[in-house]
């Protein structure tokens, strides 16, 4: 099994991207209590913003990436204000929110396809050729190592913020019970708005990293979202740490599954994992109830 180290590395890379997506997905789910199927577009928009700015303006790359993430943050704010908050205030059911977010997702995806075409495009030409690292008999590019580091750093930052800041406490209070949080004087709408922006930014980062690592197409965000949603259910819906765990379980399941069958069946494996968890442990690994 000399291919084993490589499969493990591939699982870690896939898991890290899912982890960024799933942690941000669960952070938002925690406060809004509904599946946001538009979460994927944050990744798509950020990646395409980088593509546009890098190839059509003279803005230096680090600033481009920052602007890309800011675009996702802005979109997160806009979606929350124009769709999610009005529906929440109307006490709309989860399904209404879910369908509205699905609609928003395909609108943004279609707009991107109209402006940038549905062709597969790459960002990797913007960077110097990737160096490769050899670890325990497997190889990964330095970008992929950076992706893994990013996911761990984001996990750490989430942990610090959620555990030790006033804002983090407020987020946890809203996640526990929005009504009670409101009664004790937390401005829940403001908290949910900020969480949407943070979540969108982290998802944007995931999209940009995926864009550099593989490439972009308008549906990329939705695919990443599906992984995030599965990881979220596996780890425990609404639980940021569960999402991290679920993402790596999904990454390993996919990559080892692909090794035994073949690459085309990745979706089938991912959704197989989802259905197993929904049947036997619907609350996920770290979920309560």
């Amino acid at each position: 099994m000399d291919i084993l180290p490589q499969i493990i590395l591939n699982s870690l890379i896939a898991g890290s991207l899912y982890a960024l997506a799933a942690m941000s997905f669960n952070l938002i789910y925690g406060v809004s209590r509904s599946f946001n199927l538009a979460h994927g577009v944050f990744a798509t928009v950020a990646a395409y913003a980088v593509l546009f700015l890098a190839f059509h303006t003279a803005i230096p790359l680090p600033l481009t990436i920052t602007l890309g993430i800011l675009m996702a943050v802005l979109l997160g704010y806009l979606l929350e204000r124009s769709i999610f908050r009005p529906l929440r205030l109307r006490k709309a059911s989860n399904l209404v929110l879910l369908i509205a977010s699905l609609g928003a997702s395909i609108v943004v995806e279609a707009l991107i396809a109209i402006f940038f075409s549905s062709q597969f495009q790459t960002l990797s030409s913007l960077l110097p050729p990737f160096g490769t690292l050899h670890i325990l008999g497997g190889t990964l590019t330095d970008l992929q190592a950076f992706i893994i580091i990013c996911s761990v750093v984001v996990l750490g930052v989430f942990w610090l913020v959620l555990s030790y800041t006033r804002f983090g406490k407020a987020v946890r209070a809203v996640s526990d019970d929005e009504e009670v949080a409101k009664i004790v004087g937390i401005n829940t709408n403001a908290i949910i708005g900020i969480v949407f922006m943070i979540g969108a930014g982290v998802m944007g980062l995931a999209g940009i990293l995926a864009g550099f690592d593989t490439g972009l197409e308008p549906h990329m965000g939705f695919i990443l979202l599906l992984g995030a949603a599965i990881a979220a259910v596996v780890g425990g819906v609404g639980n940021v740490y569960g999402a991290f765990l679920g993402a790596f379980i999904l990454g390993f399941a996919e990559n080892f599954g692909v090794f035994f069958v073949s690459g085309e069946w990745k979706y089938a494996i991912a959704f197989g994992v989802l259905i197993l968890f929904l049947l036997f442990r619907p609350q996920g690994i770290l979920g309560k109830k």
Binding site: F35, P86, I99, I106, F271
Partner: protein
């Protein structure tokens, strides 16, 4: 004139898909986003049996529906345990799995190249090869599906479905095995969708996996939501509007690629607007 027949046929086929979905989504309250997968299975089975085995279209259609029914039975056994958001997620997953199978099971489905040259239906020397005869055939099938759906929803079985939609726990307390009801309507709905799928394959004479992807599932859901969940006239009106509306784009003069994306954009926008301002749809009685 041909163009009007073409639109009328498309309208009929999507009315069938929408009525089928409404039985599950509108009457039972289970938002399923895998109906394109079901009509895909119907379409592929019918097309392959007619084209490679040489079976009569109507016989092939029947087998396609039965096969879809069996797939729906197996899936339904799993999905009947879910509800709400998780139901959406599970059915979304199946759409991707079915798409994966259509595209990768190359020895049977011909993979991404699709199945070309599917013949039009023929029975007792009667051929439905031109547009107006095909329109009559699809109109008959819309009538049959509509009548069947009307029968289902006005029966006592249909009343239990609506009770499940409103409060599943309450109706379960009265001794109804709700998962059996959810399973049965899921199978009926999938088989109706497969019927429309077989017709679609024969009408288009060419199918490929892209005809049955997530976008199409969402399209059918948009039709039902626009028309109104839990009403049978709703999906028909929804299909009429959503089949005709994008045609206007053709006259504005967008390139086909952009027009296709504009079509998707309209569905998405409609979903958002309906959820925001009128979640029960134009004629619906079920408010999500």
């Amino acid at each position: 004139m041909e163009y009007i027949f073409h639109l009328a046929i498309l309208f009929s086929l999507f009315a069938i898909f929408a009525i089928a979905l409404d039985l599950v989504a509108g009457y039972t309250g289970l938002i399923s986003v895998c109906h394109a997968a079901f009509y895909g299975i119907g379409a592929y089975t019918t097309a392959l049996l007619v084209q490679s085995v040489g079976l009569n279209f109507f016989f092939a259609l029947l087998i396609g529906m039965l096969l879809t029914g069996i797939v729906a039975l197996i899936l339904g056994l799993v999905f009947s345990k879910f509800k709400g958001d998780y139901y959406v997620l599970g059915t979304l997953g199946f759409t991707y799995i079915a798409y994966t199978v259509f595209i990768n099971w190359q020895s049977v489905t011909n993979g991404p190249l699709g199945v070309p040259g599917i013949p039009r239906p023929e029975i007792f020397g009667l051929s439905f090869s031109n547009s107006w005869s095909f329109l009559i055939l699809s109109a008959i099938f819309v009538g049959v599906v509509y009548a069947l759906a009307r029968f289902v929803v006005s029966s006592s079985f249909g009343r239990v479905l609506r009770a499940i939609r409103e409060d599943e726990e309450a109706i379960a307390i009265f001794g109804y095995r709700t998962s059996a009801f959810k399973l049965l309507i899921f199978i009926i709905s999938a088989m109706s969708a497969a019927l429309g799928g077989g017709l679609l394959a024969s009408y288009l004479t060419y199918i490929d996996p892209g005809t049955f992807g997530i976008t199409e599932s969402i399209f059918v859901l948009s039709i039902v939501i626009l028309g109104g969940l839990g009403s049978l006239r709703g999906p028909v009106v929804g299909a009429l509007i959503l089949v005709l509306l994008p045609e206007a784009l053709r006259f504005v003069g967008f390139s086909p690629d952009i027009a296709a994306q504009m079509r998707v954009l309209i569905y998405g926008l409609l979903l958002v607007i309906m959820m925001r301002y009128r979640p029960q749809g134009l004629l619906g009685e079920y408010k999500l």
